[in-house]
């Protein structure tokens, strides 16, 4: 197993010049391609509503004023490669526990970490749905791209912070 991991690591390094080729060459399992597809999720379509509280003083004391803004996440649609989940007989699940290193690497905010953990069941059932749907598509590159599109579509059903966290994690794992 360790030799295989080492071999795939070397292969992925060699193929980094052509990320699409790396996906085709290495990832052959639907679950792997689903994870690859996370980084291809176009979350530029996701708007994040933010509440802002301000306090003003009146004759009756302090009063809270709330207003809302929204920001559009503008991460580019990236085709990143090099992340490989080896086909195994184990059940692949996305973990809710994130290491401090990964949180830092993915630049996750505390609210994104919490949303990710609170939505881990939803994230995993979406992953399973995507994995099943892309398994019907021929060609690894096409399947990875389809996974990206499906993540984009289905992430709309997730809490926004969870979707952003998922994207950041997927991207960081492939860097």
């Amino acid at each position: 197993m360790k030799k295989l991991v080492a071999l795939l690591t070397i292969l992925s390094g060699l193929m980094m010049a052509n990320p699409a080729k790396a996906i085709v060459g290495i990832a052959s399992d639907s679950d792997a391609l689903v994870i690859t597809g996370i980084a291809m999720m176009d979350i530029s379509q996701i708007t994040v509503w933010e509440r802002h509280d301000r306090y003003g003083r009146t004759r009756r004391g302090y009063v809270r004023y709330s207003y809302y803004t929204y920001r559009v996440i503008t991460y580019p649609v990236l085709l990143l490669a090099g992340f490989v989940v080896l086909g195994d007989e184990g059940r692949v699940q996305i973990n809710s526990e994130l290491s401090a290193d990964l949180i830092k690497k993915a630049d996750l905010t505390s609210s994104e970490v919490k949303a990710f953990q609170d939505n881990i069941e939803e994230i995993n059932v979406i992953k399973d749905s995507i994995s099943s749907e892309i398994s019907k598509i021929e060609g690894s590159k096409e399947r990875a791209e389809a996974a990206g599109k499906l993540w984009t579509e289905y992430a709309q059903s997730l809490d926004q912070d969870a979707a952003v966290a998922l994207y950041k994690i997927g991207s960081s794992l492939q860097n």
């Binding site: 007989e89 939803e122 399973d128 994995s131």
Partner: protein, 315 residues
Amino acid sequence: MLKTLGKMMLIFALVTPVWGKVVLLTSLNPELNRPPLRSKKWNINEKLEKIFRDQMDNQEIEVIHMANQWQLYQALNDKDVQALLWVSHSSNTSDRTSDALSTASVLDHQFRDVLPLFQTIPSHIQYLGLVGCRSELIINELKSKNKFQSSAETKLFLEEKKVDARKSLKRALKELKQIKLKDEVEAKCIEQEVAQIDFTRTAIESDAASVRIVVGGQVLKVLPKLLKGETQTGTISVVGPIQSKGDLKILIDTGASSHSELDLGKFTFTNDHEAEWKLFAKPDGTPFGIGSQVYHLKTKEQVNEWPFNIETRCN
């Protein structure tokens, strides 16, 4: 006061008499686990059973082959069972590339993951043998995530490396014979505040698979396979504190991977507050998930203001 929901109300101890029974559950498909150059009559389950019976003379035993999560759940919760041996394939994630993914699994003969059932080992199980490759790493991973509970007196047999089923079972039995099982175990009981949810499951279009009902990562109940047209009913108790709707989110899980499309049956959940649970689905109503589904609580009430039931639980 509401923040104290779910805290232990009263601790007391009961002495429960337990009559020893040793159970062997194997979950290996003999067709897929036959060494090369063996006749079709060669059956791994028969070999394992012979080893078990030879070692367990004069002992109350039970053997179940091709066991699934329902049979495992029953054995774990059978107060007469003192020692349980589970033999199946398993895989671990420890040498994988990322901590964001896990493939830690204990797989039954249909490749369905039963690992969550091993998260809580009842105290009457004084010996648990997990005969499978690298089971020690899998349990260590659960421990590191604070997802493994067992009595200090429960002896675990785990394997560090990849193993041969027969050799590993022999080692497990040898170890079992070296320890003395107690006639009585001290069950710790606590009174807890719980939220009770009633459920109905109906197999409408086809037979529905055995599923476990999971809330907050805890397996609350396992349901057996359901034949088409049949209905199951029951109640689950979610231990507090319940502070948000998310705390009452329900996961229905077969343990199957994303490649095995299964009928999980149609669930309806209700409680005393006339709340409803809605299936997490695509806008067109197609549920998300293949081997598992998620139900979200829909209510306008503040769940942390709901009164709770008191339930005594013994491990």
